[in-house]
Assembly symmetry: C2
Homo-oligomer: 253 residues x 2
Amino acid sequence: MSEQTVKEKPASGTQHAALTRALMEGISSGRFPVGSLLPTEFELCDLYGASRYAVRVAINELVELGLVSRRRRAGTRVEARTAPRNYRQQLASLDDLVQFGTSHVRVVQDTGEALLDRALAEALGATAGTRWLRISSLRLDGGAKAIPVGWTDVYLDPAYPDIVELVRASPDTLIVSLVEGRHGRHVAEIRQDITAATVPERVAAPLRVEPGSPALRIVRRYLDHAGLAFVISDTIHPAGRFTASSRLLRSRE
Amino acid sequence: MSEQTVKEKPASGTQHAALTRALMEGISSGRFPVGSLLPTEFELCDLYGASRYAVRVAINELVELGLVSRRRRAGTRVEARTAPRNYRQQLASLDDLVQFGTSHVRVVQDTGEALLDRALAEALGATAGTRWLRISSLRLDGGAKAIPVGWTDVYLDPAYPDIVELVRASPDTLIVSLVEGRHGRHVAEIRQDITAATVPERVAAPLRVEPGSPALRIVRRYLDHAGLAFVISDTIHPAGRFTASSRLLRSRE
DNA sequence: ATCTTATATATGTTCGAACAAAACGGCTGT
DNA sequence: ACAGCCGTTTTGTTCGAACATATATAAGAT
């Protein structure tokens, strides 16, 4: 019985891809139930008339998909019937997060210290009473005389006063990138909150809108490895000047 | 010279992992400049005294990281000096996208057909003049008498009139999930645009706010495999009632 | 000079083989 | 009865070899 090697045509793609599909089918159909062990690699070689290499590549695919897990000597265990359908957001780099269409330039308007009152602290997700360095700037889109896209207050860990000078010198680099490059404190996570708001009086004139007109408020907290925020940005975009777009792709097809 | 095989201790992990690191170092140091071609697989075998298998696995790693690209006969091209630091959004499932804190319920207010005028078509990213099924509903958060969180107009491919009835019956399932389950048309991609807006007169009363007060407008287009939108949702959230939150984690540490 | 064809070459796929490492299970000695 | 040792089994790593496939380049034909 085991002599007649089933020479199945791959039909599409590579051989181990076909084997992957065959195993996935076996799992989803329940022929290999969740919790059970898959046949050993050598058994699969006989079963499908493939080399161990092909079997191995195929099983590695399943591991990637989270369908099975492997342990030496113990074998390959079926973990899930189907691959979880996850969505992932496409963001090539940190700078893509700030999706100012073509070019965006920061023009620093004001810098100083900030002592967070309760309202601001709550909006920023920080603790009231803490002290930060503040860098306020206008966001310009493209050409020189363009209407500003938004107003940003960046709150910076007071341990990095040198960054403030650096920010003026490089108007098109993310502030958090400057901290990363200069002080080696890396961003492990970004939390972003988008809410509806009105344009505060303080920034209405530079943004050339009426105070109280509708706006988008985007608060981003940049957390380090320990979960501590060391940069927080608070941006006001008057209505019609900015759209926060995101694409979510299904990860496994 | 080529006789003495350099038996370098892997030092950590597997051999091809060490090779990967060696190549990454060579790229980031500029010894293999961006745009140039890496030595061929066989040359690398000689260079590092490794088998083609090890070289191949190592290069595959680099391809995964986006550092190099490969083309038959053309060779392996260095694409980037450092691995782009990607951020990925954590979204376990489709329903996580709609992050209504604890529980969110949809109460259908009105259904009908919609012929998109130019303004609406542009806002939705659809073509003007096309006809859709419209399902308008209030979003309620938690308890019975709670203030509505938002108003949603869902535009549905007219091929699925049966969904309209289904929607009334299951107030806590995403409409797009209903289409997926019933008609097998799966979501491959979601595009989301968040803008600042004002509450339109039409929905001001049910939302219990003044017309023209600031609001968050979220348009989501659900695309199938071919890139065709078959469901579009358009939601208005009065200020203070909803926050669009997202977490971005660094993918490669 | 331009288009077509042939060839060399680099990557892509697949196999067989061997040894390493971990872990389950049984054996043995106190 | 229990602890520790040891062999067997299964996955993990690595090698060498061969053939397939695409394609850049050179050679040839129009």
